[in-house]
Symmetry: C2
Subunit: 355 residues, 2 copies
DNA sequence: CTGAAAGCGCTTACAG
DNA sequence: CTGAAAGCGCTTACAG
């Protein structure tokens, strides 16, 4: 572009980048350059700029796609993109099949395309860290585990579950089923712990039989409850608390199919407040994670590290930073109500397959 | 990296990039380089590579965020990211508040960060094209309008709506309400046209009173139906066809609140088959768009153009290419059934606010 | 206060 | 068949 105005590219650079350059350009030259730039729709080439500045202005996000389309991840992603865009950064998204395999690819993704990386998704294995590229800063969203050198943004899962069950107890419920995520997963276990704690606090003993292991999908939620019913263990609980919204929705669809009224016969409660919690009838009460705010915070933390030149390597030398923990909030919707004081029959009904 | 092995960077480049280089390297040197690269976890810097090759290996996606979080856009995005990742491209996502304002930003996004851009979202104004940067190829997903020089990937919206209504007619429905998206929007109008056409084909005259203008959200769908009911126009239709899933879900929640049974009293039908269509009870029958396949196709079309060096500018010189139109498919779920032959009363019930 | 030079880390076309 | 040079389009530190 310099050639066209008969001026050096350095002069163009100084003018386009504004005042932060120490270089002063004669006002006449300046005007000439600005005019030409406007006319030609001139934009500095991003690759050249990145090479010279050693900065891509690009935030990386890596997510697992193990469960196919993931509403929860998508809501966070949407927050990240917004936050990054607002700060003049662009967002490069990468997906990996699982974290074990993903580590190798993470090296490739951090080849200068991005200035830092946000790891998205629960249950990132701690062993991951050893092979993470260390020339770049990382932030992990919902890792549910301490990755040395990596900033973590989490929620208080146990407290969320505890709040939920506490509310049900206040509504008179004494037999509260919890259909959990896959056992062993940290998120699932913490939510189970919250379910137990709320019982303990209230001096109510939780029944092991009402702790049902499922997995974080609609189909698995429905299946877990269906299996439980097949073993016909007497009176159905007055409330079902799903390990996440999908589980609750799966359970809810099964109960509705069998003529159970919600919330009159059974109260239903989810966890996450994904958009689907608003599409059920009745709408699903749930524990809200501030997914958007968390995403924004993750971007801020990453950009801070980028600005100060921190990387995993430099952070390993400093004292470990505790995770940023966001509060959760119970969202009351029509799916919960007072505990029933009559019997219901849920056992009958042939299974027609979950969603 | 060359320095460390005592070898030129050109030699390293030739070895790392494999056989596509004409340059031959002595086997011994080759091994030495490969070893060192493995040991140092060497990866060519993406910015430098991009500058030298004039190719970023990055696919851009720009979407509007006018309606906040958008499930439909997110499902497509997820497909794009997958398809791109599989082809070794990374995906850079940008959001704009609206298309009018977005055009200016599109210039900035196309500054070399991406090799091409996918425009995501219905109702992209035709006037947009005049100010689009023309040194890069574009693909538009669901533009619902012809943008000269831009490849379009669409569905046959009218046919989808027509299929849906045809099925309802086959089930004996004669009074089929359509709660549409905002009037004037091309997607909304085409779906309306399909609703009309199915009636015409069957020799049934559609009642203007049953064409209700709404907008593509749950809240607006519910509100539109609620307003209609407030004017108490006699017997309620036997089926409601929403302009999209969100509208159908909004209408469904209102009807369920008022004690209407679905599908016994009223059949419900949506459009899009977003994930939420599976979370309602009963599950929502809907017109499925192959969102994932469309996303994959859009990526392929864009990469083709990138490979052959096509841009908007070069495409303008060629004859216009018709849009790629994907077929749609009716997904039958529990929310539709035979038309009722009894009266129902929907009018009562105080409105408690939509989701 | 201004302009030309060096360098970012690669690749590709060109000499040896 | 191999190696050093030029260049991608910027920015930044350095002479004039």
């Amino acid at each position: 572009m310099g050639r066209l105005v008969g001026v050096s590219s350095a002069a163009v650079s100084a003018v386009i980048n504004g005042a932060q350059s120490q270089v002063r350009i004669a006002e006449a030259t300046r005007q000439r350059i600005l005019e030409a730039a406007a006319k030609l729709h001139y934009r500095p080439n991003a690759a050249a700029q990145a090479l010279a500045r050693r900065k891509m202005n690009s935030v990386g996000v890596t997510a697992t796609l193990s469960h196919g389309f993931n509403l929860y991840a998508m809501e966070i992603l949407s927050g990240i993109i917004n936050a990054a865009t607002r700060q003049g950064q662009n967002t490069s998204v990468f997906t990996v099949v699982d974290w074990i395999d993903g580590v190798r690819q993470l090296r490739t993704f951090c080849d200068g395309r991005v200035d830092g990386m946000i790891l998205l998704g629960p249950d990132i294995p701690t062993t991951l860290i050893e092979t993470l590229p260390d020339h770049v800063p990382f932030v992990a969203l919902h890792p549910n585990s301490q990755l040395p050198g990596v900033c973590a943004v989490e929620i208080d899962e146990e407290d969320g579950a505890c709040q939920a069950v506490r509310r049900l107890i206040a509504l008179g419920h004494r037999r509260i089923m919890h259909v959990s995520g896959r056992r062993g997963g940290i998120a699932a276990e913490r939510r189970i712990a919250g379910w137990m704690r709320a019982h303990d606090e209230a001096g109510i003993s939780w029944e092991p039989d009402l702790l049902v292991a499922g997995a974080f999908t609609i189909g698995e939620g429905r299946r877990a409850l269906s299996n439980w019913l097949d073993q016909a263990r007497g009176e159905f609980p007055t409330a079902v608390f799903g390990g996440n919204d999908a589980i609750a929705i799966g359970c809810m669809s099964l109960l509705l199919d069998r003529g159970v009224r919600i919330p009159q016969d059974v109260s239903m409660l989810g966890f996450d407040d994904t958009i689907c919690a608003q599409t059920t009838s009745p709408q699903l009460a749930t524990v809200r994670q501030p997914l958007y705010d968390m995403a924004v915070r993750a971007v801020d933390l990453l950009l801070d590290q980028i600005a100060t030149g921190e990387t995993i390597a430099t952070r390993m030398l400093q004292p470990a930073v505790p995770p940023v923990v966001f509060p959760v909030e119970l969202v009351e919707r029509a799916s919960i109500g007072p505990a029933r004081n009559w019997s219901i029959d849920v056992a009958q009904g042939s299974e027609s397959g979950g969603g």
